[in-house]
């Protein structure tokens, strides 16, 4: 019985698995192989196995005397990607927690509507939302126009094509990804615990820190991972809001696959990104299974 159960499951899943292998998982192995090859003269690769691409992820060799030094340009991009992703996670948490709390404490009748309002942006085209925020923060955009009119500033703030713009944009597009898991956690929250804490003379701050945050921890972890992972691999938002100079890892990877660029380096960088994301997901899986054990 168990054997036929396994056979049926695999048989029915096979068509989906084949497509996924051909157009999602399988090609990743090609990228791994490419990262160990040498770059072709104009583009592509030549079959000359080497660790050079992996070496070049972090280091560079001087053309003339062969001295090895850290690749500053690469480190800058890594650092910007990690920094902006962490900040995005932090900002979306600080805004997302009150928002999720607000939705979860609405009367049962209006709660689905608020939830729907947060879900619509979640499913709306990321590019459209990025364009929308771009039109707001441009020099001639609504934000600057409004600030000029009320006299808060004398000349438009140059936001577009800065790290700040990328940060605003990512926080904007990924906020729903933080709110939804936080809401799911708060929705199950037993509010009598707060009542008990207040009865025992806890302050509001203490209730938040000692009761609410520890209990909704799984939601916090899930939301943080859901925001951090796509932020780290972001491509569209930095391209639209950061201009050509404020690249993140995703844009830097794309650059390596242009004409006359270094495909193996691009492949190695892709693998680096994949490894970081996998590590983040593993941390999440471990944290959530620990939470489950605790019950």
């Amino acid at each position: 019985m168990a054997q036929s159960r396994t056979r049926t499951a695999w048989l029915l899943s096979t068509p989906a698995l084949v497509v996924l292998f051909c157009a999602a998982a399988g090609p990743l192995m090609i990228v791994l192989v490419y990262s160990f090859l040498s770059p072709g003269e104009y583009s592509g690769v030549v079959w000359d196995p080497t660790l050079e691409a992996w070496f070049r992820v972090l280091f560079r060799r001087d053309i003339f005397d062969g001295t090895v030094s850290l690749a500053d340009a690469h480190l800058t991009i890594f650092w910007r990607s990690v920094k902006l992703s962490l900040l995005t996670t932090l900002i979306t948490f600080v805004i997302g927690l009150p928002t999720a709390w607000f939705i979860a404490t609405r009367p049962a009748r209006s709660r689905p509507l608020w939830l729907f309002l947060i879900t619509i942006p979640f499913w709306t085209n990321l590019l459209i939302r990025t364009f929308a925020i771009m039109q707001v923060i441009r020099n001639e955009g609504i934000l600057n126009t409004a600030l000029l009119k009320i006299g808060l500033i004398d000349s438009p703030i140059q936001l577009l094509n800065t790290d700040t713009a990328v940060l605003i944009g990512m926080a904007y597009v990924y906020l729903p990804l933080m709110v939804l898991p936080l809401f799911a956690a708060i929705d199950r929250f037993d509010f009598r615990l707060i009542e008990a804490a207040y009865d025992l003379y806890a302050s509001r701050w203490r209730v938040l820190r000692r009761i609410i945050l520890p209990i909704i921890r799984p939601g916090i972890v899930a939301g943080s991972i859901l925001v951090f992972v796509p932020s780290l691999g972001a491509y569209v938002t930095p391209r639209v809001l950061g201009g050509g100079r404020n690249m993140m890892l995703g844009n830097f990877i794309e650059l390596q696959f242009g004409q006359g660029r270094n495909w193996p380096l691009g492949a190695a960088l892709s693998m680096v990104l994949l490894v970081i994301v996998t590590l983040a997901l593993l941390v999440y899986v471990r944290a959530s299974s620990r939470d489950e054990e605790r019950g």
Binding site: R5, T8, A9, W10, L12, S13, P15, A16, L17, V19, L20, C22, A23, A24, A25, G26, P27, I30, V31, I95, P98, W101, F102, T105, L117, I120, P121, W123, T124, N125, L126, L127, I128, R129, F131, Q135, V136, E140, G141, I142, T145, L175, P176, F191, Y198, R204, P230, V236, R239, V240, G250, I253, F257, W263, G266, S270, L273, L274, V277, T278
Partner: protein
């Protein structure tokens, strides 16, 4: 002065931040929509109401072709991925654990975990090589790529629906001498239909919205609406982009509303 009644669910400042967050979420989108009706050639200065940008976008051959291409790809990708996801969901859901369960789940959800840019690069390499070797062109590559990343989105609602279904109905059918196929065709499938429809809608929206993988996989002249819009970045931005965005937005919201009505009907 009357003080507010004490409430355990109230935390100071939370309501204000939440309302501000909702405004911040919607203000840019509303602005974008409003300026799609701008008579002036600007996304910042208001020049009166007009539908000119919709007419211009409608008459723009490139936009028309991109729109048709987007819809064709999304239709095929949603159809194929929903079919594959339904089979997989029926195979893997209910009836207990089986060997390799984790492997199948990880494989199906893999597109949700791997950064899109990495998959895009991988497909660029693979499909580029196939194109050079065989000379085969066409939309097939895009449809295959979209089908793959749509599978988990179609799978999740179908699986959720299956898990909520009462197995005793199928057992009853079997007791009445229905063959497994008859039981599936006349009992399981009709009950599962809302889940399948919801999965297909989600897959359609996801395919319609994709930028990164499409941008890397498409060959010259295979722009979809999102990649066409991304291409407009290099030029001065006109409200035409807003008009296209608004049209896409309306389509997405309609599909999502349908999705919510279907999945909520399940609970009632």
């Amino acid at each position: 002065m009357a003080t507010k009644p004490f409430s355990v669910t109230r935390l100071p400042g939370f309501g204000a931040i939440a309302i501000a967050a909702f405004i911040a979420l919607y203000a840019p989108i509303i602005t974008l929509v409003v300026y799609s009706f701008n008579a002036a050639n600007s996304v910042a200065i208001w020049g009166g109401f007009s539908l000119d940008w919709y007419r211009l976008a409608w008459e723009n051959d490139q936009v028309q072709q991109a729109a048709i291409r987007s819809l064709v790809i999304a239709t095929f990708a949603a159809g194929f991925s929903t079919l594959l996801a339904t089979l997989a969901a029926v195979g893997t859901t209910r009836r207990g654990r089986f060997k390799g369960q984790t492997i199948i789940y990880v494989m199906i959800n893999q597109p949700l975990m791997v950064p899109e840019i990495v998959t895009a690069v991988a497909l660029l390499i693979l499909f580029g090589a196939i194109r050079t070797a065989t000379g085969i062109q066409g939309l097939g590559y895009l449809i295959l790529a979209h089908t793959a990343f749509c599978i988990p989105f179609a799978y999740l609602p179908i699986r959720a629906r299956l898990e909520g279904m009462d197995m005793s109905l199928e057992t009853a059918a079997a007791d009445l001498y229905a063959t497994p196929w008859q039981a599936f065709r006349h009992v399981t499938l009709p009950l599962l239909a809302p889940g399948i429809l919801a999965g297909a809608m989600l897959a359609f929206v996801i395919s319609l919205d994709d930028v990164i993988i499409t941008e890397f996989v498409k060959s010259a002249g295979q722009d979809t609406l999102p990649t066409y819009m991304l291409g407009q970045l290099r030029r001065a931005m006109t409200p035409e982009v807003n008009a296209i965005s608004t049209a896409l937005l309306v389509l997405t919201v309609l599909l999502l509303t349908g999705f919510f009505l279907i999945t909520r009907g399940r609970q009632n």
